[in-house]
């Protein structure tokens, strides 16, 4: 009890020095809470955007299709797969899809593009293109031989709603596939690559045009929660009905996304470590000074019967008080700051290249979670404690007689 009092009062012997130290700890943890929340917020929107706009959380494909997409690598019985998906817990929605590369020509120009066959009814539940129509209408079973195309592609082909597009490709059995379709709508996802090179048509049109015979290239599914994806994937992989097919998750489907996230995370972590080391040195300095200037006092305390152990304990209590107050301040302020920006968002300006690739526009919303709130401050807490241990452990080596002679 008196030791607590002693530690507490010792902190306030050098008010300014102690406050500076606590502020260093506080601002470092504030920064970590905010930065981590920001990073995880941006990853979540990147994943979310990518999942909603192109890959879904999970896909079932023919084995080898993802590595090397070819027309003939098909899921022959999509109905069977969809039955399995519909009774797998954790799956929210799914839709069948086919795709291939073709040449598309307007009156003036020709481009190599990807044409996708989708089922508009089920596609809506999985992917968000239906909500991104800028002109005209989304696909409808009542309007066969109609397609929707990306904004950039429309500009390149100099084509608009109501105009015709000639498609030339190769069907599943190797014969020529050609048709003329009408542009029914124009969409903008914000992902340039998609907007530049994608055309969507009805899955039934695709089936007829490319002689698919009821087969598709992928069943795209979303899980109820991002965090459940791994579990659901495992369950599907173990399903005997899918044993000849490949079950892929969003990481397999867009490895670049995971890599960008990892790269960003690693560079973030390096920065955080540097920050923590700087803070650690400032703490070490404070505590070394506290031990040096109090050497004489330690000598007296040992002379009256205080064990070195107890002195170390008092020093560590001092460090824990200071660290604790710093961390508390940092976490509260960090949480407040994060929550504020979680409401209003942070405008990304021109620095949003990476984000734009994954369809995030304008603002990032940091996301506060227990993890982002606690990881940074916990690391600072541990490092600070270890740093304070170094000078404190000098105490047991002191001889009281020598210590009392120190100035």
């Amino acid at each position: 009890m008196n030791d607590l009092k002693l530690a507490w009062r010792n902190i306030w012997r050098h008010t300014r020095r102690s406050i500076l130290t606590m502020m260093a700890i506080g601002f470092a943890s504030l920064l970590l809470v905010f930065m981590l929340s920001f990073q995880f917020g941006s990853y979540e929107s990147m994943i979310d955007a990518s999942v909603k706009l192109s890959t879904g959380h999970l896909q079932v494909q023919a084995a080898g299709y993802n590595e090397k997409p070819e027309m003939r690598k098909v899921v022959p019985n999509p109905g069977v797969v969809m039955d399995i998906l519909s009774r797998t817990p954790g799956i929210e929605a799914f839709t069948a899809r086919s795709q291939t590369f073709v040449l598309a020509s307007s009156e003036d120009r020709t481009r190599g593009i990807m044409v996708m066959g989708v089922n508009p009814e089920t596609e809506k539940g999985v992917l968000s293109i239906a909500t991104l129509i800028r002109e005209g209408e989304y696909l409808s079973p009542r309007a066969p031989n109609t397609v929707i195309i990306g904004t950039l592609l429309a500009r390149r082909l100099k084509i608009g709603v109501g105009r015709e597009l000639t498609i030339l490709g190769q069907s599943r059995n190797g014969s020529i596939a050609a048709t003329v379709v009408t542009v029914g709508g124009i969409f903008k996802t914000g992902i340039d690559e998609v907007d530049r090179s994608t055309v969507q048509m009805l899955l039934s049109d695709f089936d007829a045009l490319f002689a698919m015979d009821g087969a598709v290239h992928a069943i795209v599914a979303t899980a109820r929660e991002l965090l459940q994806v791994g579990e659901v994937k495992k369950a599907l992989q173990n399903d005997p009905g899918l044993k000849d097919l490949a079950v892929l998750d969003w990481v397999d489907l867009s490895p670049g996304l995971k890599q960008s996230i990892q790269l960003d995370l690693v560079s973030g972590i390096i920065m955080y470590l540097i920050l923590i080391i700087v803070v650690a040195f400032s703490i070490m300095n404070t505590f070394l000074m506290a031990v040096f200037e109090r050497t004489r006092e330690f000598g007296v305390m040992m002379a009256i019967g205080t064990t070195p152990r107890r002195l170390v304990k008092v020093m560590l209590m001092e460090s824990m008080f200071m660290t604790g107050m710093g961390l508390l301040f940092g976490m509260l302020a960090g949480a407040a700051l994060t929550q504020y920006f979680a409401q209003v968002g942070i405008p990304m300006g021109g620095a949003a290249d990476l984000m734009a690739q994954y369809g995030i526009s304008g603002r990032i919303f940091p996301r506060l979670s227990w993890a982002t709130l606690l990881i940074g401050p916990a690391m600072i807490g541990v490092v600070t404690f270890l740093t304070a241990l170094v000078p404190a452990l000098r105490i047991p080596g002191l001889k009281p007689a020598d210590a009392m002679k120190a100035v």
């Binding site: 009092k5 012997r13 007296v300 040992m302 019967g305 001889k399």
Partner: protein
């Protein structure tokens, strides 16, 4: 059993190339209840001897034991424990804990001994009253005069009921009135509670009041006279 046994103790300080023989094969026995003064010129080794007896420093050769406990087998923690329960210290300069009040300084020792809060407060205050500091319980050392600080230090050394008190020139910083009353307190403790006192001094009055006078010279005992 002797309260203090010092046999063949030497202590050499090295400063750069210079070696100082602070104690040269000193042997000494003090019985429980003695009231011993150590006199001698400056630099003769008085402080060094007291520090060694209190286990604040370790000798280069020789053995020391207090109340039958030999120091050489004890860790620094054990020595602190021994000081806490059996030895009281009064230093030449005041050496209080600056962030504690007078009362807390005295109380702290009792807390180290595990005495309960209520008793602690009572005993600390009674002790401060005894050394003439009633009403100054809540002053920090910086708010006390030199003599008052010294009396807090004495109260601190006495409050734990030690069997031996080691005092290094306890009256050196006090005026003659304060010095005499401190000496009076020390003798009372000695006679009533049979506490052993060993103290160094330059003060003729203190030497006069002692019951045994040891004289040191150049790190050795030059005279030992029981009155």
């Amino acid at each position: 059993m002797n309260a203090v046994t010092v046999s063949d103790v030497s202590k050499i300080y090295t400063q750069g190339d210079v070696k100082v023989m602070a104690l040269n094969k000193v042997s000494l026995k003090v019985d429980a209840g003695e009231f011993v003064a150590i006199a001698g010129p400056s630099g003769s080794g008085k402080t060094t001897l007291l520090n060694l007896i209190g286990g604040l420093d370790s000798p280069d050769t020789g053995h020391i034991s207090v109340n039958g406990k030999a120091f050489e087998k004890m860790s620094s923690g054990d020595l602190a424990e021994l000081r806490l329960t059996q030895i009281g210290f009064v230093f030449q300069s005041y050496n209080l804990i600056p962030v504690f009040t007078a009362e807390e300084n005295v109380e702290y020792i009792l807390q180290l001994q595990g005495v309960g809060k209520k008793e602690r407060k009572q005993r600390a205050r009674a002790m401060l009253d005894d050394v003439g500091l009633e009403g100054k319980y809540d002053r920090k050392p910086s708010q006390l005069s030199g003599g008052q600080q010294q009396r807090v230090a004495v109260a601190r050394s006495l409050v734990s009921n030690p069997t031996i008190i080691l005092a290094d020139e306890p009256t050196a910083n006090l005026d003659s009135v304060n010095g005499e009353s401190l000496l009076q307190t020390m003798r009372e403790m000695n006679e009533k509670h049979n506490v052993t006192f060993i103290f160094s001094t330059h003060d003729a009055m203190v030497m006069e009041a002692s019951k045994r006078l040891i004289t040191m010279k150049d790190g050795a005992i030059a005279g030992d006279q029981v009155k």
